[in-house]
Symmetry: C2
Subunit: 149 residues, 2 copies
DNA sequence: CCTGAACCCTCTAGCAACTAGAGGTTCAAG
DNA sequence: CTTGAACCTCTAGTTGCTAGAGGGTTCAGG
């Protein structure tokens, strides 16, 4: 007899690997459906909730935004549908991740260069501070044109 | 005669590469000192402000938090001080950056594996959805123990 | 001197994705 | 029945800005 078991939000948290407040938060923003309640108002869950929540957690671990997770969840429920949209979301996300890796790598290289050069003496000679400190034209607004943004 | 020139927040933005609201925000949180004002209440800046702001912008580009930037600014003003603290901040930040790179790289690898495996058919066979969807024990709370947090 | 455009002002609210806390209620074991 | 753990809601905080409303100032041209 595998009767449909229900369990509390704490148990769901333990089974899914999410924290209790996070689950409530997800429900609040509509990522999880509102659960049935006990008479006293406590949330009750079943195995479906665990599945959905683990799906969310894994997606989050891969760096998908909650918006993307929402879309993935919707798409995943329609099993006959073409998975091109899933692919599009994943590919787009992949390129964002790659972009982040690139800028972090650039940061890392710049930082380690700086740190290496620093001879651990005084601020006066610190390469780190040096590199951050700009040399400003003594008075006239000559740099006015630079369209930095 | 290089008289001390003053200029508006817009000009400071142009010279520093920061946006106007960002400058006001920095002032609001105490990262920049309150500037003098014109009679009408407009902020007035000089070259010092440009230096400080470019320092901030460069630090931000290297990924330092505003807290860290604050500390770096304070340290940098004391030119006789040992730069060990600067080094500590930078090194700590470097290790955080490296850590982020690692987790993003792991994400990237997992994602590109998934996407590669997906044969662009239907959701039913989509590897991406597969990988995200958990296989849950049919009823009993057997996984209860996992102390994930 | 006056007008009008371009700039400036403050204040509030919003984003992502939670986390923390206050203050109160329910559940389940003993 | 009592107790303490777990649950409830609600608000506010985090980071680093950005956007908007609703207004005031500045300054060059006429």
């Amino acid at each position: 007899m595998t009767t449909a078991q229900t369990f509390s939000i704490g148990a769901l948290a333990a089974r899914s690997g999410c924290k209790v407040p996070t689950i409530r938060y997800y429900e609040g923003i509509g990522l999880l459906p509102e659960s049935p309640r006990t008479e006293g108002g406590h949330r009750q869950y079943g195995d479906e909730a665990v599945k959905r929540l683990v799906f969310v957690r894994r997606s989050r671990e891969l760096g998908f935004t909650l918006q993307e997770v929402q879309s993935l969840l919707e798409l995943s429920s329609d099993r006959a549908r073409a998975c091109a949209e899933v692919d599009a979301i994943a590919s787009h996300h992949l390129s964002e991740v790659e972009h982040k890796i690139q800028s972090l790598t650039a940061m890392r290289d710049a930082l380690s260069d700086l740190i290496e050069q620093c001879q651990r003496t005084t601020i006066l000679e610190c390469r780190v501070i040096d590199a951050l400190s700009p040399v400003v034209a003594t008075s006239e607004p000559s740099v006015r044109d630079a369209p930095l943004r």
